[in-house]
Subunit: 141 residues, 4 copies
């Protein structure tokens, strides 16, 4: 069951996402999860381009633990769940799952770091962004 | 037979390039051809990053006519041929083919425009670049 | 203006679709157009997997002419229009455009061939599919 | 320093691998690592298509832990190292790194499961494959 404060995003599987094994190419699941995090951000009122232009901030992957339990196939309509599990000074953590008809195909623990758009040096998560992210978490419990 | 003044570049097909149809996903051939044009440029002494930093110049696709004759498969070792057929004031044209064991799978007529890296407005092909490109053509005949 | 009988499909631009030039990587537009053709098929009642399982039929790219007029950017919400312009014995032709806020970024003439899923030999478009495709065209005029 | 029994594979970064952040799109590193594992297999005398045709065997991702330390950029020539750390009954484990000029950008612990090509059910790693994989490890120490 998805957590109460998780954000859901639908993703359809197209030919471009599959490989000659007949299923989704494994790295594509990372794309799907990134789309879902982007839509979660947009839902909070932020676009990547806004973060860039207003805060010189880009969220980059710090680390990821991913379990591939079952494969998705062509034409599947998947649900990507994103639940923020922690906000640090300069990082954000998520638990993400990819489901098909309530069955979990993929789970991932994802840590993102906030970096400066030009130097790629770590910077604090902008306060305005952090505040909204955290209210989001509290609000949904 | 490849033209005498054409540049050749090998490309191996991996799972990431294939789709559930069991063959290479069609849009991937454009990636392969872009790699070959990049290596042709590098062979002439230019990297994309040099063009960017020294000339604020990026080559972008203007138009393309592509014929898909036969599909490539997983593990195939392809040869991408790139022949510059025309240099204009602000553009460059290529004839590119993708071959497997001398058999042509794909042919494409490709026109690139030179644009400013920030504004994306058309600019002339930098003289130094154009001169080397054109010598290249003559030299190889 | 989109043709009356054209099918529309929205596509959001994510980081995965962009490149270091700051815009959408050119080959990704082909992915977007393939998604739109897939959704057009689904709208007619056919999925790729149905075509495969019931008719051993796969539609593959035969040829494409594509004009890149303007680039799409991160976060853009694009509209892909697909208009079937011709059904042949063993092929289907489309005019497709990619638009942002009514402005046309990309136009493409696309010809698909129907091939056998295992042999990749040309086969006729299945009658049931063709009939529905053609009614679709007439219906919408 | 790379382990003595690790396999090395060069990968060039092209526009297709980068994103609007100006660096390699994170999921592309998984593609690079898959290419390196494929070349390691080929080096041992096996191609994916052979495994499929002779053993009905496909290696699929079971799980992955990945640390993104530093980003790769357009035109970078990367080295992907693959060291097999364990062969189980039905799985194989790797330590993989991505380096640029001796500097480690990415490290990953990767576990692959051997599954039947049609059913995707777990099967033992084919004996002939396993034997060669294990000799490979011993041989290189």
């Amino acid at each position: 069951m998805a957590a109460v404060n998780s954000h859901q995003w639908p993703v359809r599987v197209y030919y471009e996402n599959t490989d000659a094994g007949g299923v989704v190419y494994h790295a594509q699941y990372l794309n799907f999860m990134e789309r879902a995090r982007t839509e979660w951000l947009r839902h909070l009122g932020f676009e990547h381009t806004t973060l860039l232009q207003e805060y010189n901030c880009v969220f980059v992957l710090h680390s990821m633990q991913i379990q591939f339990k079952k494969s998705a196939k062509l034409d599947d309509l998947l649900t990507i769940s994103s639940e923020m599990t922690k906000t640090g000074h300069g990082s954000v953590e998520f638990l993400q799952t990819i489901q098909l008809n309530q069955q979990t195909l993929i789970t991932a623990q994802v840590k993102l770091a906030c970096v400066h758009a030009l130097t790629f040096k770590p910077i604090p998560v902008p306060i305005a962004v952090k505040r909204i992210m955290e209210n989001q978490v509290v609000e949904s419990v």
